[in-house]
Amino acid sequence: MLNVHSIESLGTYDGPGIRLVIFLQGCNFKCLYCANPDTIAYEGGKSYAVEELVQMAQRQRPFFGKRGGVTVSGGEPLMQAKELIELFRRLKEEGINTCIDTNGSILTSASKTLLEHTDLVLLDIKHIDGSKHKKLTGVSNERTLAFADYLAGINQSTWIRYVLVPGYSDDPADLHALGRRLTGMNNIEKLEIQPYHKLGVHKYESLGWPYELSGVSANTPEQLNVAKKIFEGYVKEVVVN
């Protein structure tokens, strides 16, 4: 059984084509800007059997077009890597494209097996600088970077995702550093810059949590452009989502 937070049937930003996006409940990071703070707790969510989700994907399949499929996001989906293996194995059996959106902090043997059934990894790197990463997420970035190395090693198709938070993760020096770190990883097809937004703020209120980035405003087009230009020096395709 998978512990699911919610399901979006028209996913157009979490991998190629039209995708069924399954958001799992529970995350081991607590990012300051998290837009879905209600997915962080391990409790809550709704149980779904693997076969239930496979059937959902099959029903939706006519919409997938040539490139779409299923994406598992979260929360942190690799928290449930073991249960996901069966889901992805079944989806691949049905010929459905699979994608996982992860913070890359959990590289267990279950994660490794799961990757064998995964067509595309969306790897969220929150920050290249260890201490700034810790400030943003509560944990260090060592394991995420090791995960990136592992993906490169097995030549796993990967898109990097990077949330550009003004004043927190947009220092050009850091962006260059991240670019350099990714250099030589030929498995990386694309880097997606995710603009910072505040649409999840009301959720903090209902959770009774403080929102620590209330003073930060959304990116200007110039800020996004600067970051895009920098990353283009290192990664073959850069898009702003």
């Binding site: 049937s9 028209l10 157009t12 930003y13 039209i18 837009a35 077009g65 490139r67």
Partner: protein, 737 residues
Amino acid sequence: MFKSGNWQNAIDVRDFVLKNVRPYDGEGDFLCDATERTDHLWKICLDAISEERANNGVLAIDNETVSGVASHAAGYIDKDKEIIVGLQTDQLLKRAMKPYGGIAVVEKACQEHGLEVSDRVKDIFRNYAKTHNDGVFDVYTPEIRLFRSLGILTGLPDNYARGRIIGDYRRVALYGVNRLIENKKLDMLGLTGPMNDERIRLREEVAEQIKALGELNKLGEIYGLDLSRPAQNATEAVQWVYMAYLSAVKEQDGAAMSLGNVSSFLDIYIEQDIQMGVISESFAQELIDQFVMKLRMVRHLRMDAYNEIFAGDPTWVTEAIGGRLADGRHKVTKTSFRFLQTLYNLGPSPEPNMTVLWSPQLPEGFKKFCAQVSIDTSSIQYENDDLMQCTRNSDDYGIACCVSFQEIGKQIQFFGARTNLAKTLLLAINGGRCELSGKQVIPNIPELKSEVLDFDEVMGNFKLAMREVARVYNDSMNIIHYMHDKYYYEKVQMALVDTNPKVNLAYGAAGLSIVADSFSAIRHAKVKVVRDEAGISTDFVIDGEFPCYGNDDDRVDVFATEIPAYFNGLLKELPTYKNAEPTLSILTITSNVVYGHKTGATPDGRAKGVAFAPGGNPMHGRDKSGAVASLSSVSKIDYKDSLDGISNTFSIVPKTLGVDKEQRKENLVSIMDGYFSKDAHHLNVNVLNREMLEDAMEHPENYPQLTIRVSGYAVNFVRLTRAQQQDVIARSFFETI
């Protein structure tokens, strides 16, 4: 020049298209911009439209002349610049009186704009001529009047023209009027005895048609055109088709008067002229631009109250574009593109109502072009060509009104507005009494035994109530169409249709999502009725959760499929005027709001007065699993049980479709391929701009599944607070500039 075929021996436009159509597999890169002449004319039209708007929605009214095919002198926008001519009256946007529907309606419409109908016309229609409206109300039963006044039946065409009949306007171009007259005269000779009611009526109808064709020739003469002979070239073909359509909208003011499927027919003439080097692509586009411009200028004189049911002064000049032929070829032509191109050359517009007959098998270039035009203009609707072709057994059809199949020249349709299923459910819960007025509407509905609704008991009563509603609805339809034929017969349109065509009777139902969710609540949760002292339901208390229609969940979607099937079955048992075939639509146009006003609280938790979801849409805010799940739910309603059409309005912001233009096009194509391959029938595609988002803030019920995405976060727009909505509006536009 044209390939020969049966079309030469008989009136058979389909055969002409089949033999001569040139399917086009390419993209839209050949298309041309508007010419200077077109721009000049359109500027005059735009000025007239803004003057019209400033003048309370009506620019001018001719209160002297009763409109007919050849009633008015020629009118022009700017004569020297027009390559396609013809207006309904002698002045752009001047509206004409068509009192045969009902003189009181015309008087009211005039008075609302500070005018009086001329004494002569008043005298004729008050004292000598009888109208459709007079006829209907002479024979309406007390029962029908009650159903009508309580809002169980709404928008019945008993004081305005029924519309929905599509003349085969192509016939005038292909054959010329004289050949059509000859043909009708031959039909007349064959209509021999015994002279029973039916036969006499038909003979009189054909006689009227022949006279109307004579009038059509006169209309041509007014504009210096010889419509008596076939069109000789592309310009004439467009002009002849337009004159035929114009004659119809001069004679009738039907709620919806579709154009049919003229684009790929006209393409044959256009491509021939281009090949012969007689015209250029730019001129070809100009022909279509000017034709479409004229279609956008069609106006009818309406009362303000009409706006409640059909908001926004619509005319439904519906043109069906694309689709496939039964032999497997497709009917996408360069002129299919040229029609859509008018949305760029003249800007977006609701009219003509461009309807793409979609099949996943259509050429990719066309599918992407459609998606692009939808994204840029939100002006196209789509219907499932594969589904209609195989279910209705014809590949030469147009769309009557909004969504309804009509084989061109072979079939017509009797428009029947719609009934309110949600209110019918409340009759079932209240012993047959109206929940707002307390009036006894239906006898012999048993009172419910308990406060907590019992599924079987409510369903049993609902079926009884539906049976009674179907009976009264059928009675009203038979009366209305009998009288419409008698007093406001569509002479010129019927002259362009085969003699004695098949008739479909277009019933409609509103409130499907409410009924489905109500039964889901009754079955899966505990629903308690709150009643007033008279024992009539005022509210419902729901204890527990229940699945809602719009989430691809069979536990509730089953009600959305079974209820139309059951109601349709009841309608099919009843005898119809002219042996029309009963068909049902799940369609509301804009009446979903009015229906809401007239309906008390329902067991799904909807409060009294709240607007219904439009057509087959799930209730807004209840389809929580995203657009694809919502589309999947709607696709389950079986077209075979709702042959008049199942309307679904899909609204999405550009960003949600994808990060850039290419991806948006690709994804929209995937959505439509997916939706229609699941045997769904119809889709309105709104890719929203700022104006629409602002409108959505004021009328959230019209934007049930408007989704916004801002990197990694998806939200239903109408569920945001006002401040957030304003934020999103500012943000979205900031980003797209």
